[in-house]
């Protein structure tokens, strides 16, 4: 696990590197634009407003995040993550034939998907990294395998059963039906997933195994 946490730290640095440009770009361009259009007076106020609404945003979502991670801890210990993982076993084996023979790997992959489904971001990432490690075990490859691509695409189009953070933010902004988006979120996630995986399969056929 020490290996994992140092890897995560390095990668977060890469992410921060990208955000250096995005974040400072937004601020610098906003200031330049308002100087050109002569509206820079509003900018100082907007920083203060932003700081205020950032705290409101955090306050709105923090309670729900904590409540939900408490509930999910109960679900995890009660074996619900495992039960859902078992449910996905057959489908995942078909999507990633290379993982089918390895019980440990198959377990890590399906537990990762299950954790994603329940919105357990904190649990899903270590499980996913463990799955990637097992997929590359003894191979030391530099090029992604077909199964790795499918697995990463599954993770980038993760379906979440209960969109808690968004519902909390909607409720804070005075929505009369914060959870009303749930069915749409499911439909769109499934559509995204089907397109991503189908395309990966088409690439697999076209490009051959790496």
């Amino acid at each position: 696990m020490a290996y994992l946490s140092s890897a995560i730290k390095n990668l977060l640095k890469i992410g921060d590197f990208m955000m250096n440009y995005i974040w400072s770009g937004i601020i610098v361009l906003s200031i330049l634009y308002s100087l050109f259009t002569g509206g820079s007076g509003a900018l100082t106020n907007s920083v203060m407003d932003g700081a205020k609404s950032a705290l409101a945003l955090i306050a709105a979502t923090a309670g729900m995040m904590c409540f939900w991670s408490g509930i999910m801890r109960i679900a995890q210990c009660g074996g619900i993550t495992k039960a859902i993982a078992r449910l996905f076993h057959p489908a995942l084996k078909r999507l990633m034939p290379e993982i089918a023979d390895d019980d440990e790997l198959c377990g890590a992959v399906s537990m990762n998907i299950s954790a994603n489904l329940l919105g357990l971001g904190n649990a899903a990432t270590p499980l996913g990294l463990e799955a990637m490690r097992l997929m590359n075990k003894g191979l030391g490859r530099r090029t992604a395998s077909n199964s790795m691509v499918v697995f990463v695409v599954l993770n980038t189009a993760s379906i979440q059963l209960v969109p808690t953070t968004i519902a909390a933010l909607r409720s804070e902004n005075g929505s009369c039906d914060p959870m009303g988006i749930t069915l749409n979120v499911w439909l769109c996630s499934i559509a995204a997933l089907v397109v991503g995986i189908s395309l990966a399969k088409i690439f697999e056929r076209g490009g051959g195994a790496a």
Binding site: Y33, I74, I181, C188
Partner: protein
């Protein structure tokens, strides 16, 4: 049509009843999990603050409206609300940034408006794609990701287009 109302109560019932049947220390486990949740909130707090302030400046400088106006002639005929463009742009790169833009959309367009609901669905059905790709491949030293990026972006694109379409058809 409103499944959302039943999702949380039935999930709670299932999870707690299941744990009670297994005689788990339910309350203690809840506190453990909630404590982890507080940790997670503290961890994302600085980046949320940074991006909400930046987006607030982007809005009040008029640059955001200018950019939306620029893409509007292309997106409007496609039926894609140009107000959602900044969210679509930032979503694959930064989770905190997307949340900041989402909050801004709620405040400027209304949370229960068509745009507000489509933005919610968009946020919920897509992921921080580039972050996930970097962290998963980087952790095992893989540099050639082959068709991962096109597939993941196609998935994101589908999710975003479907968010607008499904909100229009189902009313969200």
């Amino acid at each position: 049509m409103n499944i959302g109302v039943y999702v949380i109560p039935s999930a709670l019932l299932l999870i707690i009843a299941n744990a009670m049947l297994k005689r788990l220390p339910v309350f203690e486990l809840f506190l453990q999990g909630a404590r982890q949740g507080i940790g997670a909130v503290f961890k994302i707090m600085p980046s949320i603050l940074a991006l909400v302030c930046a987006v607030s400046m982007l809005r009040s400088s008029g640059l955001l409206d200018f950019l939306i106006g620029l893409v509007s002639p292309i997106l409007q005929p496609l039926g894609f609300p140009p107000e959602l463009f900044p969210l679509a742009l930032l979503r694959p790169v930064s989770g905190s940034g997307a949340l900041a833009v989402l909050d801004d959309i709620y405040k400027s367009c209304g949370v229960d408006s068509f745009i507000g609901r489509a933005a919610s669905v968009m946020m919920g059905s897509t992921e921080t794609t580039f972050y996930a790709i970097a962290i998963y491949y980087g952790s095992v030293g893989i540099s050639k990701t082959r068709h991962t990026v096109p597939c993941a972006l196609a998935a994101d694109f589908t999710g975003m287009a479907m968010a607008v379409l499904s909100t229009r058809l189902l009313g969200g």
